[in-house]
């Protein structure tokens, strides 16, 4: 048992925690971090990064399957799902080591173990080698993240009923799977499993896939997923998940389904158990820790960032909050996170990316909206790539040209979205985007054309 003192103690080293730690260190503060898993959190180890590796594998498999399109004949194609998972683990390991390296470089001390707040300024770490007490001279940052949720009465055993944690680890793929939830996690795993020949059924309680996205995006994605043989059932309520049949029986208001496995992708809940939140009386809001614009909780000197601090549960939002918290702790006046300008990305094929308001949301306010749409079928680069599914859609205020939202489905949508993010940050209007010369040929030209379409004069359609 030893006591260590730091200016800042960060509990959790996911994208929120490690970024907060590094930024605090850059600002001259001494930092200790606590992690009960590998540095990098869910994002690097079990979420964003390893799934992107799996999705790349799925993409390669799909390219081989349509090699004929490119005049390439492939014979005896063999795909090995276990190898895909192994590669994905290797990618995650590499990224986690990268975080460890960054900690060393920034002289941040890592305490492996479970951290719990004992007071406003004390964090107790229970690790394999005993208990350490960390004293925080300036602030404690809670960055404990989130964990997969389940439906009431359904236990995730990671065998028959799995979460994304199991899905990203299991080297064996099921013959069939029912995915409950058609958000980003659900459709990404649907893409991976389907590429490797799994019978996939997606169930969604709301009326469409990726329900937070613009309706037209959902419709386009549903078409693409269906075309690849993925069963989609929307507006379906799951009443029970029980063992039986081929593995699991899923009872819904629209009948029973059987599959070898069920993947629960119904959302995530804040990880707050054993963190000491109740004892300190830290205020909560709908299951998440409540934080101020500078990420401070109701208890002075205790900050909360990332998933534990509430939606949207996105790594890049966590990083942005980590920077704000670190700067606030260092006595700077950081610009608060603009939650209306956080891009949302889904990496299935075709990719989906969006920022700002959907067309429906924009119209809800009653304002006059102009919408511009441009399909990738009319984009030279997309045609050359043979990736013509999808479109770019821009939603703007008719009066001012303010970019209210942008919605992309198609090749590298998650990269193309950023011109809208930068534009919105700078408060550019359609005209400034219009006057921005886009290199030819690029996928980003579709963003320009959608902008022109919103102004009423797209060139290439």
């Amino acid at each position: 048992m030893a006591t260590h003192a730091f200016d800042v103690v960060v509990v959790g080293t996911g994208p929120g925690g490690y970024v907060a730690a590094i930024r605090a260190s850059q600002l001259g503060l001494s930092v200790g971090v606590v992690e009960d898993d590998r540095p990098g959190g869910v994002c690097l180890n079990w979420g964003c990064i390893p799934t992107k590796a799996l999705l790349r594998n799925a993409e390669v498999v799909q390219l081989f399957e349509r090699a004929e399109t490119f005049g390439i004949t492939v014979q005896g194609l063999q795909v090995d799902y276990a190898a895909a998972v192994k590669r994905s683990r290797g990618v995650a390991d590499r990224m986690a080591k990268g975080v460890e390296f960054l900690f060393k470089k920034n002289k941040i001390t890592l305490f492996p173990g479970t951290g719990a707040l004992k007071s406003r300024t004390t964090v107790e770490v229970n690790g394999a080698s005993g208990t350490d007490t960390l004293e925080a001279r300036r602030a404690v940052v809670l960055a404990t993240g989130s964990e997969p949720k389940s439906l009431p009465g359904v236990t995730i055993d990671e065998k028959r009923v799995i979460s994304s944690n199991g899905a990203v680890r299991n080297e064996a793929k099921p013959k069939s799977i029912v995915i409950i939830g058609a958000g980003a996690v659900g459709v990404e795993f649907a893409d991976v499993y389907r590429a490797y020949g799994v019978e996939v059924t997606i169930l969604e309680a709301l009326d469409r896939v990726v329900p937070i996205e613009d309706q037209e995006i959902s419709a386009q994605l549903a078409r693409n997923l269906s075309r690849r043989g993925i069963q989609i059932k929307t507006g379906v309520k799951v009443s029970a998940v029980t063992p039986g049949g081929a593995g699991v029986v899923v009872e819904t208001d629209g009948g029973k389904l059987e599959a070898e496995q069920v993947l629960m992708a119904v959302g995530r809940a804040a990880r707050i158990k054993g963190v000491g939140i109740e004892a300190l009386g830290i205020a909560m809001d709908r299951g998440f820790v409540k934080a101020s614009p500078t990420m401070e909780t109701s208890v002075k000197g205790v900050y909360a960032i990332g998933d534990v601090a509430g939606p949207p549960l996105l790594a890049h939002k966590a990083m942005a909050e980590g920077v704000v918290a670190a700067e606030a702790i260092a006595g700077k006046q950081p610009r608060p996170v603009d939650y209306g300008n956080v891009p949302s990305c889904t990496y299935c094929r075709p990719q989906v990316a969006s920022i700002g308001l959907t067309e429906a949301k924009a119209r809800e306010g009653g304002r006059e909206v102009s919408v511009g749409k441009f399909p990738f079928t009319a984009n030279g680069k997309a045609v050359a790539l043979a990736e013509t599914d999808g479109f770019v859609k821009v939603v703007a205020d008719k009066k001012t040209g303010e970019i209210l939202g942008a919605h992309i489905i198609g090749p590298e949508a998650t990269e193309v979205i950023h011109e809208f993010a930068v534009g919105r940050t700078l408060e550019a209007t359609l005209e400034e985007l219009m006057h921005t010369i886009h290199a030819h040929p690029t996928l980003s030209e579709a963003a320009l054309e959608a902008t022109l379409a919103a102004l009423g004069h797209a060139i290439h359609i």
């Binding site: 209306g340 119209r363 809800e364």
Partner: protein
């Protein structure tokens, strides 16, 4: 189907609330966009309020004689069959959150509470059940709004459409468009973005200042009662505005003063001659001072300048603020392009401005954008006084009475007309010698007043 919210418009940069003097339309009247709905009393003037939507005036929420904070819903225009219960239900009597409150509630604080001088127009639509989480779902923090009532110094006037003339206003494209459409003068907006850049929220914040000023009712003079040692007189909205703005000048602006005495004999004589001409509009001493200052400022652009934090903005045109005393305070209408106007034009326009100031009928744009001001207490037989600079201007000239005083002439002692003027200067912008040289020129122009005629 359109439902238009009628909100208390922001009619001047310092306006925080307004009083409905009277409604010119009543509930049930058909309304066309552009119709005058009501007369509103602000701290500066009585202003007519226009409608920005078509339909029927379905509801009046703030009755004549009542006061409402800027942005408050005061009425609803809609079609006869539109359901306005939702809109009316949203109307809260509480003023909008203070501009400085960093964590104001999400939706409202992001939107323009009112975009001056137009009330916010918003159509009402049924909200469909929102999906589990929208990207815009959580309450978002709002960056601290700029200080209310602290206008940004005025740059050179706008030249051409959409341009920003000589003095560049740093503003985002969106802020520019919103400002242009809502009639906000960007020159009067303090930027809160990187490097003082004006962003959307700054333009919108112009319409979200809190209502802090008490009733505008003129103080009632009660007869002193025996034994009563004092009485607390409610501030008029004009007095409150002055009380709020003046410390923002006197404290942060390092004032210094330069005084000069001007022989007004020739100017007096010229004025008598001009006023004796048939059909000639009357010219006051102050008109001569305005003309002299305008001409001198062209020669001394360093005085016609404004402190900008990182730089000094030097104006190429002279917009002259002319202080007008009123019963309840004072007001400074702006005579635009004074340097380019003849004495007769100056006289005519000044009189018009002063008259309308007294009737409180000035338009918003006539109350902002001065590059220099003149305060004349000559009519009160004041020998000399000094004035407080009206930021963001860099200087103000205080003008005393023209008095007959004994003067030493070549032949001995005589009687001359003398006028003392005191220039208050912002030391961040100029130094004593600059102020003195400017006064020398003002003096020369007034002492050789034929120069004012060419």
């Amino acid at each position: 189907m359109a439902v238009t919210k009628v909100q208390m418009p922001k009619l001047s940069e310092a306006m925080e609330s307004g009083k409905i003097i009277k409604w010119l339309k009543k509930e049930g009247d058909p309304i066309q966009s552009g119709d005058i709905l009501a007369e509103v009393e602000t701290d500066k003037a009585d202003v007519e309020m226009e409608a920005f939507g078509n339909g029927i005036l379905r509801k009046i929420l703030v009755a004549a004689g009542e006061k409402a904070a800027v942005g408050t819903l005061i009425g609803v225009i809609a079609d006869a069959n539109d359901d306005i219960a939702g809109v009316v239900g949203q109307a809260t009597p509480a003023p909008p959150p203070a501009a400085a409150a960093p964590a104001a509630s999400s939706e409202e604080s992001r939107r323009p509470a009112a975009v001056p001088p137009h009330p916010r127009r918003e159509d009402h639509a049924e909200r469909s059940p929102s999906p589990s989480r929208g990207p815009e779902a959580p309450a978002r923090p709002v960056a601290p709004a700029p200080m209310a009532g602290r206008p940004q110094p005025a740059p050179a006037p706008v030249v051409g459409a959409g341009g920003d003339g000589g003095g560049r206003v740093k503003a985002s494209p969106l802020a520019r468009k919103i400002a242009a459409q809502s009639g906000v003068d960007l020159k009067l907006v303090q930027g809160s973005g990187p490097g003082g850049r004006i962003v959307r929220r700054d333009v919108e914040a112009v319409g979200s200042a809190p209502a802090a000023t008490p009733s505008a009712a003129a103080p009632q003079r009660a007869a002193p009662q025996p034994g009563v040692e004092f009485e607390d007189v409610a501030l008029t909205s004009m007095r409150a505005a002055i009380a709020k703005r003046m410390p923002l000048s006197k404290a942060p602006v390092p004032h210094f003063y330069v005084t000069s005495e001007i022989a007004m004999d020739a100017a007096w004589e010229l004025r008598e001659q001009l006023n004796g001409l048939e059909g000639q509009s009357k010219i006051s001493v102050n008109d001569l001072v305005v003309r002299a200052c305008a001409l001198a400022l062209l020669q001394h652009p360093g005085i016609n300048a404004s402190f900008q934090g990182e730089s000094i903005r030097v104006f190429h045109r002279v917009h002259m603020g002319i202080a007008v005393a009123l019963e309840e305070g004072l007001i400074t209408p702006v005579l635009r392009d004074a340097h380019a106007k003849s004495l007769a034009q100056i006289a005519g326009e000044s009189r018009d401005l002063a008259e309308r100031a007294r009737q409180r009928k000035l338009r918003t744009q006539e109350l902002s954008g001065a590059t220099f001001s003149i305060s004349n207490l000559g009519m009160f037989d004041v020998a000399d006084f000094s004035a407080i600079i009206n930021p963001p201007e860099g200087a103000i000239l205080a003008v005393g009475s023209v008095r007959k005083v004994p003067v030493v002439t070549e032949s001995g002692l005589g009687v001359g007309r003398r006028m003392a003027v005191t220039l208050s200067c912002d030391h961040r912008v100029m130094d004593g010698a600059m102020g003195a040289r400017f006064l020398q020129d003002v003096k020369r122009l007034l002492e050789e007043p034929l120069r004012l005629l060419v």
